[in-house]
Structure formats: structure tokens, C-alpha cells
């Protein structure tokens, strides 16, 4: 648990730093192997930057639209650097809308773009795990197992480490430098990563101590992961049968 590193008077938030580092490594590796999927690295760069900027702007606009009264006493807050003034669904909408427009404008193949971005997603999954380890988020259930860690007033499953191991195993198996038979079928590489990640989350969620419960005790993340897993396997089946 290391939420902040103090460098002189400067307090650097470690979780954010880890995510930035993960983004940089992920983008570099995705660019390195982009030609394998017939995508120009420059296009990938522009797509990611455009999506990021659109995501941030949309996240702030949606937040302002949701809570306009909060900005009236001090309108300068609109330009505040507080990440707490961003709406996550606004960010998702901004990324989807801007990337859809970009992909259509430059007539880019969607499945190939997703295949190219798969190493980026896989590395981000690992860096999210490290970020959660630093902040203490995504903590585990109370346990007396010998590898339990002391966190938030109890000995708990080190679920952040489980997540890092799971995401690392997926990245190692699906490393883009390997010769994998499904690289030739657009979209299958991405879908296999997504299905593996959903399966891993579904399994590991059982050890989490912060799950949101629905329907009388079921963990909502597991239900969402089950739906994603099913959808991915169904689409992969369709794609493989059409070869």
C-alpha cells in the first residue's frame, strides 16, 4: 500500500503514476506490433489521443449537465483539474463516439483496430492491478490463509496480486510477438483476450471483499463478466465457423 510518494513538497499519487506508466508501455507495444495487423502506428496514435481528449471533455460536460447548480456560484470550477468532476459514463460515451467517427472517417477496419489494441488493453489490466495494490482498492475478503495481507483492519486475500498474476498470465499467453493461429482471423485475438479477462474476473471476484451485491447476494461483477464471456464465445464461434 503506497498511495502517495512525497518528493520534497510534491505529493505524487502512485496509483495515477502507475496508470500513466502502463499507458505508455501499452501504447509502445501496441504500436510495435501494429504492422502485424496491417494498421499504421501513426493512425493508432491519433486514434488514442483523439479518444482520450474527447473522453475527458465529454466527461466534464456530462458532469456539468448533471450538476449545473454546483457550478453557478463559481463558474471557474468548470476548468478545475479535479478528477472528481468527471463523469465516467460521459467519458465512455466520449471515447466511443470519437473513435467511431475517427474509424469511419479514415475507413479503418474495426476488428483489426481492436486486435492491434489488445496488447495495450492487456498491459492496462496489469497496471490497474498495480494501481489498486498501491491504493488499497479492490481489496479481498477476510481470510486466515498464510499468504493473507494486512489491509484495512484485517488479514485479507491479496486480490490485487491475484489480479496482477491473472492479467500477466493472459498477456504472456497472448503476447503479440508469438505466432498464434487466430491472428489471421480479424477480431478473434481481441475476443480471446476479452473472454479470458472476463473469465479471470469472474473467478477472482469470489475472493473480493468489496463486491457490489445484487439479487440477494450475487456479485454484480461476476454476472456482467458471465454475460461478456458468453457474448465473446458466441462471436468467436461465429467467426471460426465462417472461416
Amino acid at each position: 500500500l503506497l498511495p502517495v510518494i512525497s518528493i520534497g513538497a510534491l505529493a505524487v499519487p502512485v496509483p495515477a503514476l502507475v496508470l500513466i506508466l502502463g499507458t505508455w508501455i501499452g501504447v509502445s507495444i501496441a504500436e510495435r506490433y501494429s504492422k502485424k495487423f496491417s494498421i499504421h502506428p501513426g493512425r493508432l496514435d491519433s486514434l488514442l489521443i483523439t479518444s482520450f481528449i474527447a473522453g475527458v471533455i465529454m466527461a466534464r460536460l456530462v458532469y456539468i449537465a448533471r450538476y449545473p447548480d454546483a457550478f453557478l456560484p463559481n463558474p471557474a470550477s468548470i476548468f478545475s483539474f479535479n478528477p472528481g468532476l468527471l463523469d465516467r459514463w460521459g467519458a465512455v460515451a466520449g471515447v466511443i463516439i470519437s473513435s467511431t467517427i475517427y474509424i469511419q472517417r479514415y475507413k479503418l477496419p474495426l476488428w483489426r483496430i481492436l486486435d492491434t489494441l489488445t496488447p495495450f488493453f492487456a498491459i492496462m489490466a496489469i497496471s490497474i492491478g498495480f494501481s489498486q495494490l498501491a491504493s488499497g482498492d479492490a481489496f479481498g475478503q477476510v481470510t486466515d490463509l498464510p499468504w493473507a495481507i494486512e489491509l484495512w483492519g484485517a488479514r485479507r486475500h491479496p486480490t490485487q496480486l491475484y489480479g496482477i498474476f491473472g492479467a500477466s498470465a493472459i498477456l504472456w499467453t497472448l503476447w503479440p510477438g508469438r505466432k498464434l493461429i487466430f491472428h489471421s482471423n480479424p477480431g478473434v485475438y481481441f475476443l480471446i483476450w476479452l473472454a479470458s479477462s472476463a473469465g479471470t474476473r469472474l473467478f477472482l471476484e469470489a475472493f473480493r471483499g468489496d463486491s457490489v451485491l445484487v439479487l440477494g447476494g450475487f456479485r454484480s461483477a461476476q454476472i456482467i463478466a458471465w454475460l461478456i464471456l458468453g457474448l465473446c464465445l458466441w462471436v468467436i464461434g461465429k467467426k471460426l465457423s465462417s472461416v
Binding site: 498511495p3 502517495v4 512525497s6 505529493a11 499519487p13 450538476y67 447548480d69 454546483a70 457550478f71 456560484p73 463559481n74 471557474a76 470550477s77 468548470i78 478545475s80 479535479n82 472528481g84 468532476l85 488499497g136 475478503q141 484495512w152 483492519g153 484485517a154 473469465g199 469472474l202 473467478f203 471476484e205 469470489a206 473480493r208 471483499g209 468489496d210 463486491s211 457490489v212 451485491l213 440477494g216 447476494g217 450475487f218 456479485r219 461476476q222 454476472i223 463478466a225 458471465w226 464471456l229 458468453g230 464465445l233 458466441w234 468467436i236 464461434g237 471460426l240 465457423s241
Partner: protein, 191 residues
């Protein structure tokens, strides 16, 4: 061609069987890992993070009167750790004072904990007069409260609901006035 077609059908059927098998196994895992409602983070353990009970503490205020966090239960609290030399703390204090003035009559309270171990009382008093702060301010003279809340950076703010559960932690600053207003309104609505 018929053979190729048959191979395709067999492969598709195998994949469908695999898919259903995986989904059944996953469904079984979801079923056995279900827990009783409220058995995950339910605020019973005191810890300085969202979803947990805010750790209780006692401290002395500027008038040397004892202040206890648990006595504020039933009211939403913004627990803010600060120091007079800290620039982001200075930047967010006027907004905090305005928001406190607007929401105080609805039960909202700000409890500002001065990190006195790394500050000095004279500067703190001058600061309070300069910014005309009217909310309670306590002194953390030996760093006990900062350690209890694992404060690694100033300012750090904890938004605590009326039940004493921490709802959000904001490390660093300055917090904008809009952010403060939204969070306080959410705390008041959740009462």
C-alpha cells in the same frame, strides 16, 4: 465440398458444447461464491477508506475544548487535514468556508484537522483569522490522527455520511467549489 461442410459443422458444434460447458461452470462458480447481502464491506470495521466506518478520535480545538468525531454522528462531515504552509490547503479553504456557510443549517459540518506536528500554532491562528474560518478546527499535535487516517499528503479530505461511513477520500487539492457542493449535496441526500 460435403466433407468440408461436415468439418465446419462439427467444429461449430464442438465450439458450442465448449461454450455451454464454460458458461455452466462459470454459472456454478457464481452460485457458490454468492454471499449474504451486507456481508461484504458493510462499514463495521473502522478504516480510512470508502465503505468503512470513519475511525474515531478525540482532539482539542482552538479554544482548548475537546472534540470527538463520533459525537458528530447523525450529521454529514467533511474531515479535512491541512497545514497553514500548504498552498493547495490555502487555495481550497475559501471554497470550504462558503460551502460550510451555505449548508451548515442543513446539518453539514466541516472538521478541519491541523497537522500541528508539521505546523505551528501561531501560524494556524493567524491563518484562521485571515480566512475567517467558522468551522471547528482541531490540533493534531503528535500526529496520532494523521496516522489513524493514513494521511500521506496535505490536504486530504474524507467525506463521511451521517452514519459515520466514509463515502469518498480525496488526496491532494485544491478541491473546487463545485466538487465540494456536489459531494455535500450527495451526503445530505443520502441521509
Amino acid at each position: 465440398l460435403r466433407e468440408i461442410g461436415q468439418v465446419k459443422i462439427n467444429r461449430f458444434l464442438q465450439w458450442r458444447i465448449f461454450t455451454w460447458l464454460i458458461l455452466l461452470l462459470a454459472g456454478f462458480w457464481i452460485w457458490i461464491s454468492a454471499v449474504k447481502p451486507g456481508s461484504t464491506t458493510n462499514g463495521l470495521i473502522p478504516a480510512p477508506r470508502p465503505g468503512f466506518l470513519a475511525p474515531d478520535f478525540h482532539s482539542l480545538d482552538i479554544n482548548n475544548l475537546p472534540v470527538t468525531l463520533s459525537e458528530m454522528k447523525g450529521r454529514p462531515v467533511l474531515l479535512n487535514f491541512w497545514a497553514s504552509w500548504c498552498s493547495p490547503c490555502k487555495a481550497e479553504m475559501p471554497a470550504m468556508q462558503r460551502v460550510y456557510a451555505d449548508f451548515e443549517n442543513q446539518g453539514f459540518i466541516i472538521l478541519a484537522v491541523n497537522a500541528t506536528q508539521q505546523d505551528n500554532v501561531e501560524d494556524v491562528v493567524a491563518f484562521i483569522h485571515e480566512y475567517q474560518l467558522s468551522f471547528p478546527i482541531v490540533f493534531d499535535t503528535d500526529g496520532t490522527v494523521s496516522r489513524l487516517y493514513a494521511v500521506n499528503a496535505l490536504p486530504t479530505s474524507f467525506f463521511i455520511d451521517a452514519d459515520g461511513i466514509i463515502r469518498e477520500v480525496i488526496v491532494g487539492g485544491p478541491m473546487s467549489e463545485a466538487l465540494l457542493r456536489v459531494r455535500v449535496e450527495q451526503l445530505l441526500e443520502s441521509e
